[in-house]
């Protein structure tokens, strides 16, 4: 289940972060908000998990 969800979480969070980066151009204090940091950390964890799963699958293939 996690393996199926993680790529989608990565896509959604990456879109979040792209939106924040665009907003930060107009409101430069955006990066200092805690919700941005939380999103970034969750995205990092999710993308790391996704990458680990991909590596494992690639090794088996």
């Amino acid at each position: 289940m996690i393996r199926k969800l993680i790529p989608h979480v990565c896509i959604i969070l990456s879109l979040f972060i792209i939106t924040y980066v665009i907003l930060n151009e107009f409101n430069p204090s955006f990066f200092s908000f805690s919700f941005f940091k939380v999103t970034l950390i969750v995205f990092c964890v999710a993308s790391s998990l996704c990458a680990a799963i991909m590596i494992a699958l690639n090794r088996r293939a």
Binding site: L15, F26, P28, S29, S32, R60
Partner: protein, 368 residues
Amino acid sequence: MESNYGRNVRGRSGGYSMPPSRNGKSGSRGYGRPSNKRQLPIGLVIVIDVVIAALLLGLFYVTTYMIKSEVKPIETLPTPSAVAEASATVPSNSASTSPGESASASASPDTSAAADPSEWRTKFADKFTSGDVEKTDMSYKSANINISIQKVKKDNTTCYVADIYVADLKYFKTAFAKKADVMGNREMTDVVAKENDAIIAINGDHCVDNEGTVVRNGQMFRKPKSSLDVLVMNYDGSMKAYSPDDFDVDKIVENGAYQVWTFGPMLLKDGKPMTEFNSTVTGVNPRTAVGYFEPGHYCFVVAGGRQEGYSEGYTMEQLSQLMSDLGCTEAYNLDGGRSSEMIFMGNMLNQQASGRRSTTDILYIGDK
């Protein structure tokens, strides 16, 4: 012939050494088995992800910015008289402190009555009238307040500098949008100024959407400090900017403070201009700043920006230099960009090229 993929993946279900099942097919839960379940096209899956992301962002926007979240004051901070009474009841031996303790105390907000606000009227007597009100487009003079505004053109930027004298601290005020006793509303700066009969007003620190300590008119609305610099206005009329490391919020609770703003950064260090700031927004922008000369004497500065040929805006370094050139001993940057506005007698002095933004709070001078 069995494909390699099927064989490899089959190993997942029970380890690489797991033999094939009796019927020669991969394990019952193996990924190698062709699925009869119809899968969505990859493009559609990604579109669904994008839609989910958009919905979540919309939800975030609505909950953060559209649904009003009012914050009530969490406590009323002690006034200088209350602190004096409390200290009078403390045994005299507690007055002696070690050198380390005294150094620590000096970093905390000063609520001493060294500069008694009641003396300001005498000290700045030549700045006030005997009772009449004298008004022009760029000045205001009454028995309690003296405001003179200068339009300064410097570094391709047009800025408005309001030199302010008040006869009592009660004329230097802050207010939340909608004239509310709670933090959380938003209105245009000129509307908030009008609601509060402000003679001159500038936008505040946009405390609702920021983090960090918020004290307004002696009431604490948010206690935890953030990573931003802080400006404290004491009951003696003095102002002091603190870096997050130097700021002790418990001292504020203990000793009281009239106002605490969290936005920043501080613009002067020991009265000298700075080159490095506790901010990521140091480029050219419209700016709002408050400056402090001495108790009873302050300045509001608003610099326009994003208007090539008229007013490009200031970097933080340029703003710091300007505040130093004005002679301020403390200066602090407030919310800028589209929030930057100076309202004098109901009129907005600066121009906003990229549209205006509502604010949550203002700093203002009022005669009532």
